[in-house]
Structures are given as C-alpha cells and as structure tokens.
Symmetry: C2
Subunit: 402 residues, 2 copies
C-alpha cells in the first residue's frame, strides 16, 4: 500500500500494563485524528486475543474530554494480554484485518508484543494483504533492546525509589524493632527496577544497602555477611530484591522445596523476599520483615514521571507518523540527547532484531559487589523519573547536657 | 506548679510512626516558642526509652527552615519506641525530668503511649515533682477512644484507598491473568485501615469486593463462596485483608501450623494474605496473588491527607496550650463538627480513661455480610482523607461491527 491511500488503523495494548501506556494510546489516537489518510481508528480489546475474537471498538466514538483524562490514567484502557501466537493465528488475524479494511496496525507492548507484530507483518506479506505494522515500546522492566529506555520504566522506577525512601523512614524511627527489611520489586530477568531503588540514595548510609538483581547468582553466605556487616555499622539494613533471584543451581529463591510444602500438600512458593527474611532470622537471629508493593509498581497514579508520560505520548504519536510515512515491521525507539539538557527524539529499528531479545543491566552500572549501582546508572536513570525525589528533613541532634 | 511559672518542656514521639506525626511535633514546638513561660524545648530521642537514657536533644537549636520542612516529612523525626514501662521506670524518669528542670511533658502516641504518660503523671505526684503531662493522639490504626479519629489515620487511609484503586486497574486490564488479588493492610485488632480500602468504591463492581477485618471471625467456606460468586459475576475478585484475621479457634490465619514448617525446622508464618492466596488456589483452582505494601501505609509522603496533617498540627499545638493552661494527665481529642462543613476542634479527656482502651469498628459501619462497609462509614471517613480520590478514565466500548 502506498503511503497516500486510505485505510483503517487498529491499535492494541499488550503485555503488563504500565502507568503511562495510555499516554501512548492517546498520542497515537491524536496523531491519527489529524491525518485524513486514516479512516476508522479502532482499538483491539485485550490485544491480539481480542482481535482474534473480533472484539474491536471504535476509538472515534469517545467523549471529547476522554483523551486528556486518559493521558493521566494508569493501566491499559483497551485491556491487554499475554498471549503467544499459535501457528495459525497470524493468518486468522490477517483475514480479520482484511475484513475490517485495516491497513495500519500499531501495537504497544514489550518483547513478546514485538514478536507478535513482526509475525503479523510477515503473515500479511505472505497472503498479500496491504498491512503496515509498527510496534511502540512499553515495559516497566526496561529490557527492550535498541531503545535508550522503555516508556513505563521511569514511572515504576520513581515509585520504587520513593517507596524505598519513605519505607526506610519507618525503619530509622525505630531501628531495633525490625532491623532488616526486604522490599521485593518486580523483575524476572532484568534488574532495572530493583536498581532504581537506589535513585534516592545520596550516600553510603542511605537505603538501600543491598540490591539483589536477577542477573547475578545469589550466594547465601556472602549475603548474610553483607547484612551482618551493615547491621553492625548502622543498626539496620534495607535490602531490595527482584522477584526472581537464582541460587548457584539456577533455582529461584523461595521456590519449590526450599521452604517446604504446606498443609494442603502442594508446593509452597514463599517468594524471594520471604525466603530472605527467613534466612536472616534463622542465621543472624535478627528480626526481619518484607514488603511487596506488587502491581502498585506499575500503576501508582501519584508516582507518574512527567518525562515518562511525555515520552510515552511521543512514541505513540511517532508510531502513527511512521505508519503514515510508509514504514512497517519496525519498532519506535527512544534516542537520548544530553546536550544542552536531557531530551529524547525517536528512531525506528527492525522488529526482526527486537523480538524476543532482552537488554539486561550492563556491567558498568554495577559496582564490584554486584549489589550496588554505580554513578553511571544514576546518570542513566535519574533523568527518566521526572522531578527530583523528596529530601526529607532531619532534626539536628544537639544534645542537652546535665 | 501554677500555670504562670517557668520550666522546660520535653516532647516525645512513641509507637508506630505515621506520615503526619512530625506535624504534631511542629505544632507543639511552634506553640511553645510563642510562650515565654516555656524555657527549654527539649526532645526525647526514641520516646521514653531515650528519656530513661538521658538521650535528650535541644529543639531550640534547629535551623530556621527546618520546621516547615519537617511539617511535610513522614515518620517520627525524634525517633520512636514501643516500650512498656518496667516497675521502677516511672520513678527513674521523674528523677531525670527533675534533674533537667522539666515541668511540662508532651507525649505524642497511641494507646500504650497514653498509658506511659499517665503513669509518669502519677509517679510525679507520688514523689512531689511539679510535672504536667499531656498526651497527643497519633495512630494509623484509628483505635483510640474518646477522639472522633486519630491523626495519622487519614493519610494511611488515603494510601490504602488509592492503592486499591490503582492496583485494581492492573487486574482489570487482564482479569484472567491473576483473577484473585489479596491486598494485606496493617491492623491487628481494628479494621479501620482495611475498611478504608473501600473509600474509592462507587458501586458494586468497583474494588474491593471483600474486606476481612480483625473484629470478625474468618469462615473459610463462606469466604470461598463469596470469592467464587464474585468471580462468576465479574471475572476477578479484589480482597483486602487486615494483617490479623482469626479463625473460629482464635488462631490467626497463616500462623504456625497452618502452612507448615520450613526447611530450617522453625515455624513458618506465611501471613494472612499468603494464606488466603493458597486457600483460593487450592479450593477454587483460580490463580491468585497478594500484595503487602507494609510500612508504605504509614509513610507514603505523596499520599498525605492535607486534613490529616492540619489536624496533627492542631493537636500538637493544643497539647502545649493545655499544658500552659495548667492541664495535666489528659489526652487531646478531636471533636467533629459537620455544620456548615466538616471541621474539627479539640477537647481533653482524662488519660486514665484512655490508656489501654481500644475503639474497634462499630457495627453500624459494616453491612450484614461483615465484609463490606456501609454509607455511615463513608460519611465518617471520607472527610479525613483530604482531597477527592482520582476517578480514572474509561473508554466507551462501542463495538465495530462487520
């Protein structure tokens, strides 16, 4: 299809939702509404799963005040999915797209979603349906390759950095009550989110003191030594651990067999944080507890990074522009500029290169201990989380003497 | 001591910290600085435990810009304690107060702290030391009697209400991924915090769908029936459970023996939320997971209720005023007015009546199921959480037809 003919556009959201994925949707819809080459603007409900069921809604039939409100609404308003295409799905999807006269497809998602968009692009070529597909990056995990960072990460990172600052305030107010606290973040393969807990840390005393990332094998003895050493120096220890940390056998901490089976005789998954709490209590005889903010990491509407939201809007808009320029089978990427100040423009990369590839934390972002970030990580991540983090006030401890 | 002689004032913070307990400290210090009858303004570090160690700091020796910054800083800047007085502690404490020429004491805390203040007042009388003690209410648990509500609760309630709204957005975006979610709130005896999860609920479909409160015995069969019923109707279920829920034998859910013992051969406490997740997965074969925001409930600096902060400041200030009016052995209370709009003034109640008494959720705030709140609870709690909660935008689901 040449880039000046008409057709319908369909937009989908896929994978884990984020606090700003709707900003990409709004950016895309607003760009599409400005161009007369696009007729219908459709949404697939629950991503490709909805498309395969022909669960398609009309994005032109929305109240005028919806889009600015959706811009600041977390989660995926279209609904999302975590669905791996079956063998004959691409062909079925193309038949449906053809039926609805859809020639433009924008798919907002992470690695798996890029794979889906790529396979649809290939299938369309195979059956000779004029279809352009563009993928728009989105993931709190920040693990997509070729893009400087991923929309969604900045807001989740802001949440985790602030949660670490605030929650630690409680520990400091009464350190001996529960001297060891473990905060469990999301992150099955990449440590970007766990690492972001350090973004409010200004010195060695500030939390977190130990960050456990999926990229590095857990060594229990070393961990306990670190905890004990920090406890001796500060009187408390804040640990941030990604949800999946593996031991030297590749077994995730807190998985089957490590904590026992429950009364119902099925394996008990205690999770990383609870495992670490048990380990500390058992071996160091220190009171420990864990926190697991869960989906709030993705969704906290009062932790949205303005930068993240603006960039999510930008990649949505530029996705539509790319379609209108005749591009296909590509993902929008963010390109960082640092002069005169931080800013991002966009580029495109071929989906074949992106799909199912993961970008893990580079070695340069971790110090020798592999449990703390370096200045290079701060330089990378601080511009992404929007405004500065709060610096909480402290009393001067001027003693009264007898 | 008559109310127009001079003396030093000491202020302490005690019990679990809150997001606004420092506002009470600032209110007290600013009131004290305005009155020439007060000489030194001292702070005990870590409450009565610090006093007993003569760990006393000078609150007049602080940078001028500290107080407005501390007003918006969560947690207890003086440090706090959870300490039950030993038999000879009150007399020792009085000797120290006498030594430092302290005749005014303000103690910001919950039930146990009221008991401490009361015992010091009695001990001072016993050994004939001129001491006035006033207790200033503070607790996220909202369980102090005689006061309409407790400073600290409004901000924690705001956090929980918002966390429930936001986290549910994720479930709605992909309901079948984990159709059952359990959010665990604080609350060992009283359900005020768990109940506050409903403050953003505007209809039957909105979350939460089931609230489990410590005041009511857990019935597993009934719970599973409720979960199944809601799942059939909506496709997902959001449960909010207080950290301590007891079964018909008075045993807390997820405590010793109910989930098994771990590999280290010591009892495993899985906690309420994890117990409920296991129960649902085992009996209903539905994927379930839990979230446990932990100390963030007390400390979230971006969820502070303006009303809560203003009232925390007020009770601190009025505590000092009460001391200067010659009052002693009393706690400041909040008195609600509803005409023409919500507002609070303060009063005093004798500490002997307050100490170790708990105010649980009244029957009128719960419906027949005991797992959902009534309109009366909304009328009570909504004014306490500050501004309105966000109403997230939703797309109109106008279908495209073939």
């Amino acid at each position: 299809m040449s880039s000046n003919t008409h057709g319908n556009l369909i937009i989908g959201q896929s994978g884990g939702a984020t606090a700003v994925i709707n900003a990409s949707l709004v950016g895309a819809v607003e760009a599409a509404m400005k161009d007369t080459r696009i007729d219908g603007i459709y949404g697939m409900r629950y991503g490709i799963q909805g498309l395969l069921k022909e669960d398609i809604i009309d994005l032109r039939q929305q109240p005028a005040d919806l889009w600015p409100r959706l811009l600041v609404t977390p989660s995926a308003a279209l609904g999302t999915c975590r669905y791996k295409l079956l063998e004959d799905d691409p062909e079925r999807a193309i038949a449906i797209l053809r039926h609805y006269n859809i020639h433009y497809m924008l798919y907002i998602g992470g690695n798996d979603s890029a794979d889906t968009a790529h396979r649809l692009a290939q299938a369309a070529q195979h059956v000779d349906h004029d279809l352009q597909t563009i993928s728009v990056p989105k993931t709190i995990d920040n693990d997509l390759p070729f893009t400087d960072h991923c929309p969604g990460y900045g807001s989740a990172a802001r949440f985790i950095a602030l949660a670490t600052i605030d929650s630690t305030m409680n520990t400091i107010s009464i350190p001996w009550h529960y001297p060891v606290k473990v905060i469990e973040t999301m992150g099955r393969d990449a440590g970007w989110l766990a690492a972001s807990s350090a973004l409010g840390k200004r010195n060695e005393i500030d939390a977190p003191h130990i960050i456990l990332m999926p990229e590095h094998t857990f060594n229990g003895e070393r961990f306990l030594e670190q905890v004990e050493d920090i406890y001796r120096r500060l009187g408390y220890v804040i640990v941030v651990a990604a949800e999946t940390i593996r031991d030297e056998h590749g077994q995730p901490l807190g998985s089957i067999g490590q904590v026992g089976t429950d009364a119902f005789q099925h394996p008990l998954l205690s999770g990383t944080a609870q495992y670490l709490v048990e380990l500390v209590e058992q071996h160091l005889k220190l009171r420990a507890r864990f926190e697991k903010p869960g989906d709030l990491q993705r969704m906290a509407s009062n932790c949205i990074s303005r930068t993240d939201r603006d960039e999510a809007y930008l990649v949505g808009k530029m996705g539509v522009h790319a379609l209108l320029e005749g591009e296909s089978d590509k993902m929008v990427t963010l390109v960082r500029h640092t002069e005169p100040v931080y800013s991002c423009t966009t580029d495109l990369v071929e989906l074949a290169k992106v799909a199912n590839e993961q970008k893990l934390m580079p070695a340069a972002y971790l110090d020798e201990s592999k449990t703390m970030v370096t200045q290079a990580f701060y330089d990378y991540a601080l511009p992404l989380i929007g405004g500065p983090l709060p610096q909480h006030a402290k009393l001067e401890m001027t003693r009264i003497h007898k």
